[in-house]
């Protein structure tokens, strides 16, 4: 396994200019809201979208004499995240106060982990596509509180504050500057989101702000020392990440090529214009006066606790991707799509489980592929069209597995299966029940098929003669007529075989 970091099996593109070649260097600080029913230090609830200030306790509002108590579930979540990112878990970490005044920061300081974070160095593999992968180093992860929200647009001369978010646990996941293109940055953010969702430590909901990134961007000539970086704050989608990087790369190259110097500063991304603009320069940076929080003793972990969490880790996307390809021979595209989301993967694997129970633990590669086709091809299309989520589907994994078996054992044809699928989708009844109720079983009774063929030949003597005199493409016409005669239920292989015999014998 790669534990030393930065490796890629391809060469990233550079930006070529008339005289120079430029490389972009990107690092990220990702703020991930921890999935937890209560806040990091107060025990208050964390339901999103609640009435303003209904999820704030006296601790969150920093009333006199109120004290923080660390929520051990949130600590477990951070450990889990660390383990999921192949990181070192620090047996002793500490909480510090980051001091600044703002009305939505009630205590006048944010409790964070500045000097000794809970999670140390780690790494993560990122796939850009089937052929290109790179690995990126995680510098550390620390736990901290979120701030509340200020509203300045609700009243002409008043500001409002909602402390529901104040004190919610965040993990700040800090990477090394290991990314070399906007594509890599976007892919990392997606991969990280997938891992966090697999772990159940962050819901990854970027619109609600559960996952947001500060992106550090600099440019240099390949091989040169790192350039001056600019931090672009609060980006909440992969697409915006790419836009912000693209904009910054061009801005910075332009500055340097025209003889200027890039200022170390914090910039904001405007998602409407796709541009970044200066927020504050390094000189204006606040002095946060970090100091150990005297209300919180060091956070001491024991190995048992870490081991227990390690044992509870689910199979992670990278491993799943590999296993789906190896064990079932799924093509990369299918496997990557299925592994990209824990719910999707769970659904698919439930299909395989049903299948495996039915067949003494064995799932053949062609069945796995058939299930994948119906899942990705048909079910996804239906879900998209109806704008539904997977968990809302009336078609269960057992249904899908059963449908594939009905095709596989010849009970229905692939064509009839589409109709069955449609009926299962709308009724929620099992495919076999639908087939039975609708009389959709394939006709495999040879006398019935022969009778239908006889009838078609009888009614189309002229076409038979044409066929027999060499117009062989009429064969399809006869197949169609026989299928029509049997309401599409005749076994297509049998029809083919019998027809061929009959017509050539004629």
């Amino acid at each position: 396994m790669n534990t030393t970091g930065l490796k890629r099996n391809y060469t990233p593109d550079t930006y070529k200019r008339e005289h120079n070649e430029w490389e972009v260097v990107i690092g990220m600080e990702v703020h991930a809201q921890v999935v937890s029913q209560s806040k990091l230090f107060s025990g208050a609830r964390t339901v999103f979208g609640s009435e303003p200030n209904s999820q704030a306790s006296f601790i969150d509002a920093a009333f006199p004499g109120m004290l923080p108590v660390v929520n051990s579930f949130c600590v477990d979540q951070a450990i889990k995240t660390g383990l999921g990112l192949n990181a070192v878990i620090n047996l002793e970490s500490r909480f510090d106060r980051k001091n600044y005044f703002y009305p939505d920061l009630p205590a006048g300081y944010q409790i964070s982990q500045f000097y000794s974070p809970i999670v140390g160095p780690g790494w993560v593999n990122v796939h850009l596509d089937e052929l290109r992968t790179f690995s990126l180093r995680i510098n550390h992860i620390h736990l901290e509180q979120d701030a509340g929200k200020s509203f300045h647009d609700q009243h002409p001369d008043k500001s409002y504050i909602d402390l529901n978010r104040a004190g919610i646990a965040l993990m700040e996941i800090v990477t090394e500057p290991d990314m070399r293109s906007k594509e890599e940055a976007a892919a990392f953010l997606k991969t990280l989101r997938t891992i966090l969702r697999y772990l159940g430590t962050c819901d990854g909901n970027m619109e609600e702000g559960s996952l947001r990134a500060d992106v550090n961007i600099s440019v240099r000539q390949p091989g040169a020392t790192l350039g001056t970086r600019v931090e672009v704050k609060n980006i909440n989608s992969s697409r915006f990440t790419e836009q912000a990087i693209e904009f910054e790369v061009f801005r910075q190259i332009e500055i340097i090529e025209s003889g200027g110097r890039v200022d170390q500063e914090t910039r904001l991304f405007d998602s409407i214009s796709g541009k970044t603009r200066s927020m504050r320069s390094k000189e204006d940076a606040q002095d946060y006066r970090y100091m150990p929080d005297p209300d919180l003793p060091p956070l001491i972990l024991n190995l048992d606790r870490i081991e227990r969490i390690q044992n509870s880790l689910p199979e992670l996307p990278d491993m799943k991707l590999e296993r789906l390809q190896k064990d079932y021979g799924l093509p990369y595209h299918d496997a990557a799509l299925i592994a990209s989301d824990r719910e999707i993967a769970a659904y698919y694997e439930e299909c395989l489980n049903t299948e495996s129970k039915k067949h003494e633990g064995k799932v053949s590669g062609d069945k796995a592929k058939m299930i994948a086709n119906w899942f990705i091809g048909d079910l996804f299309a239906y879900l998209n069209k109806a704008n539904l989520e997977l968990k809302e589907s009336k078609i269960t994994p057992a249904h899908l597995s059963e449908l594939v078996n009905l095709i596989y054992n010849g009970t229905i044809s692939g064509k009839i299966a589409k109709e069955v699928f449609d009926l299962v989708w709308s009724s929620g009844e099992s495919p076999s029940k639908v087939v039975k109720n609708q009389g959709m079983q394939q006709i495999t009774d040879s006398s019935a098929i022969e009778a239908a063929i006889a009838k078609v030949i009888e009614q189309n003597q002229d076409k038979v003669q044409e066929y027999q005199s060499g117009k062989e493409k009429l064969f399809g016409f006869f197949v169609g007529q026989v299928m029509k005669e049997t309401d599409g239920k005749a076994n297509p292989q049998m029809v083919n075989e019998f027809l061929k015999n009959k017509l050539s014998a004629g």
Binding site: P103, A107, G108
Partner: protein
């Protein structure tokens, strides 16, 4: 019968349980005295109706045999403990209108033990001071007067000055205080009572307004060592809402009273800095050593060389913590809000008007020592000194069971004295501060009278969570010194 306000807490407990007096009677008597002695400014809030209602409930419980350990005993709380529905100000203008919607851990325990709350006592603003002169409500007055100048108003010490004046002056049976750098022990010494600063973590800090979180610790101010033991037993105990609270068994401290000190090893610091006190204090210390010897204790020299620097390190650490602890007083959610055109104006005006000079000074010092470029030179160096002081005590306690030294370098001084130069004022804490820096328990017991006729206190220091030895040894000093308390002098009129 004895004058009711003269009673110690344990005497009153005896009279209540034997039904010789009622809680209502006792409470009414104290309320009357509080009113009569309003000039001492010991209380900033008197909760008469509440106290009488509690007393009535206590009498009912006593009558039906359902009494709790401290049933019906009227006490007072330093105005730093949040009391549900009762204004709690830390004696600062910035909190002058603050009514907490919750009860602090310590006052809740005392309430659950059956005590009656008479009111909230005066203190230095946010506990920052050694003379109770920084209070927004004006200074508290020490009931003791110098022989040569019986009209002169002396400080009761600080920051728990109101509690100390109230206890010594017979306005309550005992009181709560907090001690960050000596704020229980030094006022106890200045007013001739017993002040106990328990081990850090012994009492809950939940609901106690923070000054310097790593040093703040609640404790009792009482008329006797026994009263102190009884009150601490009721106050102490683990509180899961305070992450620094110790999950340790709380012994029945009262059992320690009267136990022998024979064979106990008492350490006396031999460092030069210990001599930075007046001759009366030196005499008192010698007397204490002799009393211990007479009681069978053994005396040893110990070295606390780094404790010499405790004061400087303390003012860095305590101010650093205070500067961030007090950031929450911003006029946004509670307390004073001054007008302003924008949020920065509101902050500046609220904090400028709401905090007094000493609090502002410490916020500035604390902000400075934590700022970029100064953090290492000040805050981190102070933390290093702190760990050296802790090691000093650890080494000393390898040899001895407790350490004896003065509580303060002098007796009480006049209100207005030492106010021009904050550093001179800070020197009052030279003997008490090392104990907070090491998180240890210590008790101040009255041990003599200076040439002005004013009380002096001796300080006993023990290893962490060994308060029992302090009560045991403190009681020996108390019985040997034959110290005549303020009320025993016949001062109660």
């Amino acid at each position: 019968m004895q004058n009711l306000p003269d009673l110690t807490l344990s005497e009153a407990r005896q009279l209540l349980t034997s039904k010789k007096i009622s809680a209502t009677e006792l409470t009414a008597e104290f309320l009357k005295r509080i009113e009569a002695k309003a000039s001492w400014n010991a209380f900033v809030t008197v909760t008469g109706d509440l106290a009488l209602a509690q007393a009535k409930d206590s009498d009912a419980r006593l009558a039906r045999g359902d009494a709790r350990p401290l049933e019906g005993l009227p006490i007072a709380h330093k105005d730093i403990f949040c009391t549900k529905g009762v204004r709690t100000t830390a004696c600062s203008l910035i909190l002058a209108n603050f009514i907490p919607p919750y009860e602090s851990g310590v006052t809740q325990r005392l309430k659950d033990n059956g005590t009656v709350m008479l009111g909230k006592t005066n203190m230095d603003e946010f506990a920052m001071g050694s003379a109770n002169v920084t209070s927004h409500f004006g200074p508290a007055v020490n009931p003791w007067k110098p022989k040569e100048n019986p009209t002169q108003n002396l400080v009761p010490g600080g920051s728990s000055g109101g509690s100390a004046a109230a206890v010594t002056g017979g306005l309550c049976l005992g009181a709560t205080g907090t001690d960050t750098g000596g704020s229980i022990r030094q006022p106890a010494a200045y007013t001739g009572i017993v002040g106990m600063k328990p081990t850090y973590g012994r009492c809950s800090r939940w609901g106690m307004i923070a000054f310097a979180s790593s040093l703040d610790q609640a404790g009792p101010l009482a008329k006797s060592v026994k009263d102190s033991a009884i009150l601490l037993k009721a106050m102490a105990g683990h509180d899961s809402r305070d992450s620094t609270s110790a999950d340790m068994h709380v012994p029945d401290f009262e059992q320690a009273i009267g136990q022998s000190v024979k064979g106990l090893k008492v350490g006396i610091p031999s460092d030069d800095w210990i001599n930075e006190c007046n001759d009366d204090i030196k005499t008192m210390t010698v007397n204490c050593i002799n009393w211990f010897k007479a009681a069978g204790a053994q005396i040893f020299d110990v070295q606390l060389s780094y404790a010499k620097h405790a004061l400087e390190a303390y003012y860095v650490i305590a101010s650093a913590e205070a500067s961030t602890n007090l950031s929450r007083y911003d006029g946004v959610r509670f307390g004073l809000r001054a007008e302003g055109r924008n949020i920065n104006d509101i902050y500046q005006n609220t904090r400028g008007e709401g905090f007094g000079a000493e609090v502002r000074r410490r916020i500035l010092v604390g902000t400075y020592v934590l700022s970029a470029g100064h953090m290492e030179a000040y805050y981190q160096r102070a933390r290093k000194i702190q760990s050296l002081i802790k090691q000093n005590f650890i080494d000393a306690f390898d040899k001895v069971n407790l350490i004896l030294m003065p509580t303060a370098p002098s007796g009480a001084f006049a209100i207005g004295e030492r106010q021009d130069d904050p550093v001179t004022m800070y020197l009052n804490d030279i003997f008490t501060v090392p104990v907070n820096m090491a998180g240890l328990p210590a008790i101040s017991v009255p041990a003599g009278i200076d040439r002005r006729g004013l009380p002096l206190g001796v300080q006993l220091i023990a290893p962490g969570f060994q308060e029992e030895v302090l009560f045991r040894a403190g009681h020996v000093i108390e019985s040997s010194s034959r110290f005549v308390s303020w009320h025993e002098k016949g001062a109660i009129s």
